[in-house]
Point group: C2
Chain length 253, copies 2
C-alpha cells in the first residue's frame, strides 16, 4: 500500500479521518509510523496529498488530511474483458487498476461459462475493494468504472458503437492472427484506447467479426499462449510502453 | 494446460506413457478426449509433438507419443530477481515461465527479508512444478534454470561479471530513475538480455551502483508503483514487444 485511500465521506469537517481498518494497521505495522509522521494520502476519485498522524493507538489511527494536489490523469485505456472465472477476476481487477484502466466492461462471450455471472462477486457487484487494492499500490485515486453485460450481442451492437466514438485506437487481442501490437498501432499512443481481451481459448469467429465491424484491429501476443490474467497485465504494459515512447518511426522491413 | 509435458524417463521404449496425475485428469475432464484422439505433447527440455490416446479409463490415460518437432527457441531473457515472499515467488515462477525466461537468479538484497530463504520452497528448491505449470500454459518445454544466491555481494562481484558476458543487453528496473525502457534499449532486441528486478521498495543505492558497474542500465516503469509479480510480467511483456517489433527508429524529440 503506497497510498492510503480515503472516501470523502469519511472526512470530518475539520479534515480528519479515523482509520480503524487495514489502513490503520498498515500505518502502524508496515510503515511503523509515530505521532506527527506524514503518510501519502489520496481521496477516492479525487486529489492526492498527505496525512499527518494526530493519534496512533492500538485501535485506531487519526489523520489530519491535506489533499490539494491534482488528481492523477485518467488512464487512456478502456478494457472489454470476457468475464473470467470469479477468483481470477478479483486478481485481474486489482492488477488492471494498478496498471491503470478507465472503464472495464465485463461481457459474455461464447467461451465464458454462464455460471460465472451467478457468482457472489458478480451478483453483489462488489468490485470496489479489489480495485482500491490496485490503486493503493499504484498511487492512483481514480476507481475504474466496472459494468457487467450478460449478453454479447446487445453489448457489441448497441453499446460498443458509442464506446468506440470516444476511442480512436481500437484493439482486440486474438491468438489466430499474425499481426503484432506494433503492426496494429503506431506509437506514441496519445489518444484513448479500447482494448478487448477474450476468454481462455480466445474469441470465436463471430465475436471477432463483430469487433472488426466496429474497427477494432485484431493483434496477437506471439506464439506463447498466456492466461487471461497474465495477458491483461502484459498487454496493458505494452500499451503503456507505446504511450511512454518517444516518437517512433516503424520501418516495416 | 495447452501442452501435456512429459519427462523423458516417463516414456517406455515403445514411446508410450501412462498418465495417472493431473495431466490425465486434464485430458479427460477439460479436453474431454476419447480413444484415438490426439493431444499436443512436449518432452521436458526437449521437442514438441503429439500424443495419441491408446487407452482412457477412470484411473489413467495412455498416450503414444510422437515428439519430433524442434524444441522451442531458448528465451532471450535472463532474470535476476530479489527473492520475493515465497507465496508470491510461486506465482512469479509460473508467470515468468509462461512469458519465457532462460535463467532465473534469486538473490538477496537489502530489502529482502532473510527469513524468505528459510521457507520450505527455498529449502527444498522445489521450483519445477511451478515452472512446468507456466510452460504447459505457454506451450514451451524449456524449463528455466533457477539458482539461489543468499548473499548479494558475492553474486554481483563474482558471478554477475560472467553472466553479463553472455548478455549484451543489460537492464535494471529501478523506480528512482527517469529514463524509460525505450530510452535504455533500442528495439528490435535480438541479443540476450539480463534484467534485474528488485524487491518491493526497490534496490538500495549500493545495489544499483553495483549493477551499474556491470553496465546494467537503470530504467523505470513510470509513475505507477507495481507489485513485483505485476512488474515481472509487465517488463517481460515490454521486452517481448521490443523483440517482436519491426525495425524501429526512435526519434528522441
Amino acid at each position: 500500500m503506497n497510498l492510503i485511500l480515503i472516501e470523502k465521506q469519511e472526512l470530518t469537517t475539520d479534515h480528519t479521518v479515523v482509520l480503524t481498518d487495514h489502513r490503520g494497521e498498515h500505518i502502524k505495522n508496515v510503515l511503523r509510523c509515530s505521532k506527527n509522521d506524514e503518510v501519502r494520502v489520496g481521496l477516492v476519485n479525487g486529489p492526492t496529498g498527505s496525512g499527518r498522524i494526530l493519534d496512533i493507538s492500538p485501535g485506531q489511527v487519526v489523520l489530519k488530511v491535506d489533499c490539494t494536489g491534482p488528481p492523477p490523469p485518467r488512464p487512456l485505456v478502456d478494457l472489454i474483458l470476457a468475464l473470467p472465472r470469479p477468483i481470477m477476476l478479483k486478481r485481474i481487477l486489482t492488477q488492471a487498476a494498478s496498471m491503470g484502466v478507465d472503464r472495464i466492461f465485463l461481457i459474455k462471450a461464447n467461451r465464458v461459462e454462464k455460471s460465472f455471472f451467478q457468482s457472489t462477486l458478480l451478483k453483489k457487484r462488489n468490485f470496489k475493494p479489489h480495485l482500491l487494492f490496485g490503486l493503493e499500490q499504484a498511487m492512483d485515486t481514480l476507481v475504474p468504472q466496472v459494468s457487467v453485460h450478460e449478453r454479447f450481442r446487445p453489448f457489441v451492437e448497441d453499446l460498443l458503437p458509442e464506446i468506440v466514438k470516444q476511442c480512436p485506437i481500437r484493439l482486440a487481442a486474438h491468438p489466430d492472427i499474425s499481426q503484432s501490437l506494433l503492426q496494429a498501432v503506431s506509437p506514441p499512443i496519445t489518444k484513448k484506447v479500447i482494448l478487448a481481451i477474450g476468454p481462455e481459448g480466445g474469441w470465436v469467429d463471430f465475436e471477432i467479426e463483430k469487433f472488426k465491424e466496429q474497427k477494432l484491429i485484431p493483434f496477437n501476443m506471439g506464439p506463447r499462449i498466456l492466461r487471461v490474467e497474465t495477458a491483461v497485465v502484459a498487454i496493458l504494459a505494452q500499451l503503456d510502453l507505446c504511450k511512454r515512447s518517444p516518437v517512433i518511426a516503424i520501418q516495416h522491413s
